[in-house]
């Protein structure tokens, strides 16, 4: 494995567990205001600055719900902006209950962020109603974005088989109709978390079809080590 600074290390086996990063919001002004009112996944660092402020959280998954509840402890009001029609489609039931019961958290469904404006710092967000297309402008100094996620796997291009969205394929997802992946040279099929390269395994969110839960990721990490042992025994 080679690194950005030119150095390298060798190893018998590799476990890919590089996870995902938040997807960036697309729209005029949004990129310019990152770190100046628009934040990705940094609710903890910025929370103290949001005291008595109007805060928007974008996204409908658990991470967005957790951030909304955390920020609501200090903020004047937190608005959760969700594209889907129901929070329960994307968020765990226990979080939906807390979000809906919180007096300072409100939820806007079927709504998306289209643009942001502000001189030194975020001042306004434009929100669009997904059904009617109507756009409203709201005053807002703080927007925390937790929309979807993308795996960071470009560096594996041409080496490890990935699905259309870049997630790493492993185990049964590699073998169509029981046939091993192209270029596979061993007379066994890939182990459960093994990628298209023997000895290279994938665990957690970076793996295609993963469960996106902390407990599953922890379990897959442990299981991958067990499979590494099995692989090493055959070397």
């Amino acid at each position: 494995m080679r690194f950005g600074d030119g150095s390298s290390i060798d190893a018998h086996a590799v476990i890919l567990a590089s996870g995902v990063t938040y997807r960036l919001l697309d729209g005029p002004g949004l990129a310019d205001l990152v770190g100046r009112g628009v934040y990705y996944g940094s609710a903890l660092t910025e929370a103290a600055a949001c005291e008595d402020q109007e805060v928007y959280v974008v996204g409908g998954a658990n991470s967005a719900g957790q951030a909304a509840l955390y920020l609501a402890r200090l903020a004047k009001q937190v608005t959760l902006v969700v594209r889907g029609d129901e929070l329960s489609r994307s968020m765990s039931a226990y979080l939906v209950e807390q979000v809906e019961a919180h007096p300072r958290v409100r939820v806007l469904t079927r709504t998306e962020v289209v643009s942001a404006t502000g001189d030194d710092h975020l001042e306004h967000l434009e929100l669009r109603d997904v059904d009617t297309g109507a756009v409203t402008c709201v005053e807002c100094g703080w927007a925390f974005v937790f929309i979807g996620a993308a795996p960071h796997t470009d560096w594996l291009d041409g080496l490890v088989a990935r699905d259309a969205r870049g997630y790493v394929l492993a185990g049964p997802d590699l073998t169509q109709d029981g046939a091993p992946p192209t270029g596979w040279t061993l007379d066994r099929v890939p182990y459960h978390l093994e990628t298209s390269v023997p000895g290279v395994f994938a665990a957690g969110d970076v793996r295609s079809e993963s469960a996106k839960r902390v407990a599953s990721a922890v379990g897959e990490g442990a299981m991958a080590v067990m499979l590494v042992h099995r692989y090493l025994e055959q070397l």
Binding site: I9, G35, A47, Q66, D154, D157, V225
Partner: protein, 349 residues
Amino acid sequence: MGSGPPGPAEEDALEPTAPPVRAAIVTVDDDPGVSRAVARDLRRRYGDRYRVVRAESGPETLDALRELALRGEDVAVILADHRMPGMTGVELLEQAMDLFPAARRVLLTAYADTDAAIEAINVVDLDHYLLKPWDPPEEKLYPVVDAQLEAWRATDRRRPEEAVVVGHRWSARSSQVREFLARNRVPYRWYASDSDKGTRLLAAAQADAATLPLVVTPGGEALVAPDDATLAEKVGLATTPTEAFYDLVVVGGGPAGLSAALYGASEGLRTVLVERTATGGQAGQSSRIDNYLGFPDGISGGQLAERARRQAVRFARRSSRHGTPWSSSSREPRAGCGSATGRRSTRTP
């Protein structure tokens, strides 16, 4: 520049994130009357030197402690009632150890809880165990707290030395640098470049407002607009693997990667963990995970990651035949013709 910021040591009152000088004494009891009474007694004697923080439940106390940690403040003593609904005092103190390991831990209990409390002394390494009622405080409470404060002041807490960040109030890179330090648990103070203190620091480092942020390392080295790799190296994060060959390379320091590193190291594999930014992954940025097995009162992603990191390092030390068991690097792994940005690696042989 020399060690530490120049000029008088006063705080800029206008800086919302600048920590106050007083360390905190934290007290919790689920009976509001008791909680208020303890806090009142503590304030009367220590209010001029310590900030007294009061809570009425374990989770509320943890929130307050996190807030204090986030603001870079220190906690000298935690005085907890044991029998509280939801989270007992012992459970609270156990979790508080993650946030303020040097804080002195005192359990304040009724006579009926004696057995449970004594049993728990080993679990949380309790410093003192005080029976209710504590009246008169001059005889029962103050001598105990005095002794704990003295012990706390004498401990070599080596108050984790702080980095200093000076940047534009609204700069993306300043925000990134602060987040990088926070996620790697490097304590820092932040000053806006147009504040008095920020201006003085910039002048002292002979930096100008055009090249921000300025980072002053705990050792006193001034870094002008450093990239992540430089920052990681200069604030003492391990950035270079110590071996050329490993049994197992784990790419990524989130829950899956930490778990893989822990199990790999515990089963004797020479293991290195490579991470671009900081351990914890997406979960590490979550303020509260309520549905993770084994944590009935919830846990923050950062705490979960830090515990896992410590656990992996412990196994690595145990099975290590070599020197430093933990090194990390700001580097990006490449396979074939990949790209490169900063990535941190953590070695657990």
